[in-house]
Symmetry: C2
Subunit: 441 residues, 2 copies
């Protein structure tokens, strides 16, 4: 097998056991990038020599008997909003062109400690919001890869790297993963530090991972989860044993709650049909659940928080360079500037109430099953598609994973999103793995 | 000694060792209340029978060999914004008249667990903001006791109870303690739960204690400090050994930073003169420190947060009963309704920056020494005086204690405020005790 197409867990094992070198793996990935990048355009910054040098060092560390981390020698793509001290971080805007941070984001630092090769910086939409950048969907270059973590999803889908890091403030992880046909996993709010990551909204910003299997999502997330005094929303807690638990059999057969959400009518007809078939295939392992009426306001609460925070987070960009911002972002910022403090704090205060309602669903169900996106990746590169099927779960800070289990009527991937209770990430991955086997078996 | 005038630590010891019963103590306090309440008006709710019944139960618990808490049998006054399941909680507004909670606030629950007798509910200003209630200053009934924790400060000063609980969102602990000539101690933000306490502002609201000595402040605070999952701003941490540490000698002679703050010019001339004398008496144990210019905006940042939060917290009161709110509160709410989300979040975001600046002061100084109030309690009952000398420390969530060390030119008490670094409460109390001995010795 072409090393670039190996899973991360497998590649790390091959490297640890001496059957593969990190340099071979990285060169194999670089060869695929060389071959596909002109079409896919996943990378904002890539220095092949810097990547190979890290791989050579990883191989040398192994030879000299150093302790090897779980990702030793494995390349990871990093969304270009995470600061890297050896690569520029330009945040998808010309306003930050040439920006060279002095320090690594905590996530990057943890990846280096885990032995990973920081392959390069993947393309983000403008300031990680909506305005698309150059990346194209590897399944069809006429279509969007989704956003804002466009390059990370596309790079993993194209086999350019086994792993990549992204973020989600609305639907920026789950949507591109669904469109690109890979696994995207966004852990519970507060598990992963956002220190030295471009901030959009403190109550909403969440880091996540892309991979081509659940076990690869697990190994990558486990490496970057952890308390960071520099991110006050992270907490001291034992790191969940994601890799171990996801591999185990569920103690009892999981029960899923099919949640259509208040935006069900906005899903493509083929998406709704696919979920009807899915529910039929799962039989009594799934039950349809209606969310309380209060969730009809969740998208509006999310919008208030996000736009008011965009106005604050990008005040300097707006003040000094608004004509170089996209129209869509400018409008969001201008609406956000007008939001009142009372409305903002009321919106933030709805989150615990929503979570209490969702806790009731999880008393009788292991996970919520719901579409990842409205449908397949839409044609055209002038939009990244709609995040609306992710909004509630992001607002509530719940762990979510999208599984590339369906194929839409255009023949493109369509994700099945599973959502678990906050903090129960390991069980969610175990349920996800069970579902994949259930449907493939 | 009249038991009512004993300190809490002493009274608890006498009870534990069988030389005093809780019933004797409570009856002694009730006798003083009977004698002084007509003048002082400290109590919003007091049922002598309910208090005596708790005392009788405490005495019975001792006889039957139950484990005795640190406050066993000692009466505590509770500001009438903490929910109590056996007494009404009316929040100082006619709009909440007759309100009877079903549960105890976490603080009240912890006090019961520590063995305390919940003596009754002390008078608060209207919704714990500015509009005065009936309480008068025990040193001069023509003067305000300060607010918003008016009744708690006055009750302790008048010897009606050895201990009382209050809260501070701006200057509602330190100011009335200074005016009434008692010790007032507001621990670090996040040490004490605010669950089932009337909320004004989540980033600002802080619980504190009144007593007639530092050791009594320590024993009471230690009993109520603790993580509470119902207050997300509290954190799991070991409870500081306040009572033990405050009794110890400082390892080296403390060094104080005299901080005049940007509102120094608004202090009474006699206050400024008193602090000049104090500095002279302390000699090289104090050095005057100027805060950076950024602190000139601290009062405005505090105002933005507090007023926007008042508008949200009291939206229902405003909507349904605004004509029964005071003019001063109505105006604050109406300004708060117009605050923008960006301005609010910018104001909240200044707090870590201010704390970083203050951390530099504490690299070389054990505590900040600064006035507790503009001056002595002003004449008249139509205002509770100014909180401006407390605003910065409340905004920054720092531990603060006021010591009744000075007497103003009207012969009324004047507090000396000591402020410590966040989280270092025990050392602050130790420094405070050292200062009291230094100046009395």
């Amino acid at each position: 097998m072409e090393p670039a197409l190996m899973g991360a867990v497998q590649a790390a094992r091959e490297i640890r056991e001496g059957r593969l070198s990190s340099e071979e793996l990285v060169r194999s990935c670089l060869a695929r990038i060389d071959q596909l990048e002109e079409t896919v355009q996943a990378w904002a910054f890539l220095d092949p020599e810097l990547a190979v040098n890290q791989a050579v060092q990883a191989d040398q560390a192994k030879r000299t008997g150093q302790r090897l981390g779980p990702l030793h020698g494995v390349p990871v793509g990093i969304k270009d909003i995470f600061d890297t001290m050896d690569m520029p971080t330009e945040d998808g805007t010309v306003l930050h062109r040439g920006r060279q941070p002095l320090s690594d984001a905590t996530v990057v630092n943890r990846l280096r400690t885990a032995g990973a090769v920081i392959m390069g910086k993947t393309v983000t939409t403008e300031l990680a919001v909506f305005a698309p950048a150059k990346t194209r969907n590897p399944h069809d270059p006429q279509r969007t890869p989704g956003g804002s973590s466009s390059g990370s999803a596309a790079a993993v889908a194209a086999g350019m790297v086994p792993l990549a890091i992204g973020t989600q403030t609305n639907g920026s992880m789950i949507r591109p993963a669904s469109f690109c046909g890979v696994y995207g996993y966004k852990p519970t709010f507060g598990l992963i530090s956002r220190h030295l990551v471009l901030q959009q909204s403190r109550p909403l910003d969440q880091v996540g991972v892309f991979a081509r299997s659940i076990e690869d999502c697990a190994v990558l997330a486990e490496a970057i989860i952890g308390h960071d005094p520099n991110d006050p929303d992270t907490r001291l807690a034992a790191t969940p044993h994601l890799l171990q638990i996801q591999s185990e059999e569920p103690p009892v057969t999981p029960k899923l709650a099919l949640v259509k959400t208040p935006v069900w009518d906005r899903a493509d007809e083929s998406t709704r049909a696919a979920f009807a078939e899915l529910a039929e295939a799962l039989g009594d392992k799934v039950a349809e659940i209606d969310l309380p009426a209060s969730f009809n306001h969740a998208h509006e609460q999310h919008r208030i928080i996000m736009e008011a925070d965009l106005a604050r987070s990008f005040a300097k960009e707006y003040e000094t360079g608004r004509e170089q911002l996209s129209g869509v972002l400018r409008e969001m910022i201008e609406r956000g500037q007008r939001e009142l403090a009372v409305a903002y704090n009321n919106a933030v205060a709805t989150i615990p109430g929503y979570n209490q309602e969702l806790d009731k669903v999880f008393e009788w169900h292991d996970a919520i099953i719901t579409p990842a996106t409205v449908g397949e990746a839409p044609l055209g590169l002038d939009s990244t598609g709609s995040p609306m099927f992710c909004t509630i779960w992001t607002l509530c800070g719940m762990p979510a994973i999208t599984l590339p289990l369906l194929v839409g009527e255009q023949g493109l991937p369509l994700g099945v999103q599973l959502v678990g209770p906050r903090g129960d990430d390991a069980a969610l991955l175990r349920t996800a793995r069970w579902l994949v086997e259930e449907l493939n078996g």
